[in-house]
């Protein structure tokens, strides 16, 4: 098998030291104030697989707010203004409030090199920077009734041309169960390759849930709403038979129109087998114990 388990190895142990130091310097140089040296701790959750290039990660995007072609976001997302930016965190929390982007960037940022598996059958390895969603949720203190977390993307058709078309019900919505949201793998990403997140990748802040299909990792978030009932999600609304609420990566459950057993890692010629939970079973399989994953696709 080509894919290594995401074992508890630090990238610093795996990447030749000079290369690693170079990268950190590069991060410091390019991101300046945003990411300080201490804040960029290496994560035991990072994979050691070969990362996809900046060009690949920023020019092959599904971000329908900027068009349905994968080259559209790279071409159209420049128009989006990502400052000022606020996220409203509300609903079933003890301390509902707004977070400005500057404040969010003060959470301890770390690098997480994650696999990303798109529901369409391709995958990448992406070096995100960001912080666990759990850190934010702990600050606002979810109440006992908070069973789900709903997310919303910015709605601004003037800067997001795709929102002028009726491809999906805007704004884009996603959701997680609270235990999924609190899992340490679940990341709020603010950067890519140590640089601030490019617009086409969901600037200024997006979710990254590496064991679920990519569309769950909602971009350009403006609202996080904790609630008792199952939140509506965009792709599920668009086509409930094809896109379930959970959408965990699962080679055994095909998309009705194509197989999910294999994937093409961008940049590779041969296809590789898809792993249950995208290779993160060790961290997350317990969340779904006793559930029928065929029914809860």
């Amino acid at each position: 098998m080509l894919i290594k388990k995401p074992d508890a190895i630090r990238p610093s142990e795996l990447t030749p030291e000079p290369v690693y130091l170079n990268r950190r310097q590069f991060m410091l140089g390019s991101a300046g104030v945003l990411l300080s040296a201490e804040a960029l701790a290496a994560s035991p959750f990072s994979t050691r697989e070969k990362e996809n290039s900046w060009q690949e990660i920023t020019h092959y995007n599904n971000y329908y707010e900027f068009g349905t072609d994968k080259s559209d976001p790279g071409e159209n997302a420049g128009s989006l203004k990502v400052r000022p930016w606020q996220i409203a965190v509300d609903g079933e929390v003890a301390h509902p409030r707004h977070y400005g982007i500057e404040e969010l960037l003060r959470f301890a940022q770390e690098e997480r090199i994650y696999r990303l598996r798109c529901v369409e059958g391709w995958s990448m390895v992406i070096p995100w920077t960001g912080f666990p969603l759990a850190s934010l949720l702990k600050q606002v203190q979810p109440t006992a009734r908070a069973r789900y977390v709903a997310f919303e993307t910015l709605l601004r058709p003037s800067e997001m041309p795709g929102q002028r078309e009726h491809t999906l019900a805007w704004p884009y919505r996603e959701g997680l169960r609270i235990d999924e949201a609190m899992n340490p793998l679940t990341l709020l990403a603010t950067g890519l390759y140590g640089k601030p997140l490019p617009n086409q990748n969901g600037a200024p802040i997006r979710l990254v849930v590496p064991w679920k299909y990519g569309f769950k990792s909602i971009k350009s978030i403006v609202r996080i709403h904790l609630m008792e009932t199952l939140p509506a999600t965009s792709w599920n609304l668009a086509n409930p038979a094809e896109y379930g609420f959970y959408s965990n990566v699962n080679p055994a459950v095909d998309h009705p129109r194509w197989s999910q057993a294999t994937e093409r890692r961008i940049g590779e010629f041969f296809k590789r087998p898809t792993l249950p939970f995208n290779g993160y079973a060790e961290q997350v399989a317990a969340l779904y114990r006793g559930m029928d994953l065929r029914k809860n696709y």
Partner: protein, 219 residues
């Protein structure tokens, strides 16, 4: 194939030159795609090539179907000399399209391919359309036109259902944005409606579809 030249038509050297030019034009998209795939501009080159070849198969089917209306509207009879070549280019791109799927998508995993064809409606539809192209390509030669006589015209009417099926294939494979299949579907609808309208206009006399005109009948 050199077409049999009949008196009254454009001199053969002109036709040959014209056909060569169109032939070269028909290869341009392939050259462009290979260039883009090789230069690294296409991030997912295999997906890019699969989709491109699919688009051209359909485009060349529609071009083939556009010949008769164009000839009628413009009176340029030379256009009919292109029809076989355009149809064969549709088949050529269709062969590339299917090969890419069998080889670079499925790596000749026949059980998985069989499963796809049976279980995935968009593949079933694409496969059926492709299989219908096969006899048309095989019987495109003068020899077959002569051999099949009247039945040749009947057989080649298969282009209508197969192109409809190709458009359905397109509708069924897109994830959400139907713009592209709608565009191709509209072009096909116009080309078919034109024929229906003409049939109605010349109700009494159905267009001859015999081999006597070298398969160049009104279709």
């Amino acid at each position: 194939m050199t077409p049999s030249i009949r008196p009254g038509l454009t001199p053969s050297s002109h036709i040959t030159g014209f056909k060569r030019a169109v032939f070269a034009l028909c290869l341009l998209p392939l050259a462009r795609a290979l260039w883009l795939a090789a230069s690294g501009d296409a991030i997912n080159p295999i997906e890019f090539l699969t989709r491109s070849t699919g688009t051209w198969t359909l485009s060349w089917l529609l071009l083939t179907l556009a010949i008769t209306p164009l000839r009628t509207l413009t009176g340029l009879s030379i256009l009919i000399r292109l029809r076989r070549m355009l149809g064969l280019f549709a088949f050529f791109y269709g062969v590339l399209h299917l090969t890419l799927y069998l080889w670079l998508d499925k790596f000749f995993d026949w059980p998985a391919i069989g499963h796809d064809i049976v279980k995935r409606p968009f593949i079933t539809m694409g496969m059926a359309a492709w299989l219908l192209m096969l006899p048309l390509a095989v019987t495109s030669t003068q020899g077959w036109i002569k051999r099949l006589k009247r039945r040749w015209g009947l057989l080649h009417r298969l282009i209508y259902p197969l192109t409809v099926m190709a458009v359905v294939h397109y509708f069924w494979l897109v994830k959400k944005d139907l713009t592209q299949p709608l565009i191709y579907g509209t072009v096909l609808a116009v080309l078919l409606l034109w024929r229906v309208a003409r049939r109605v206009a010349t109700r009494a006399r159905p267009a001859p579809l015999t081999a006597s005109d070298g398969g160049r009948g009104t279709r």
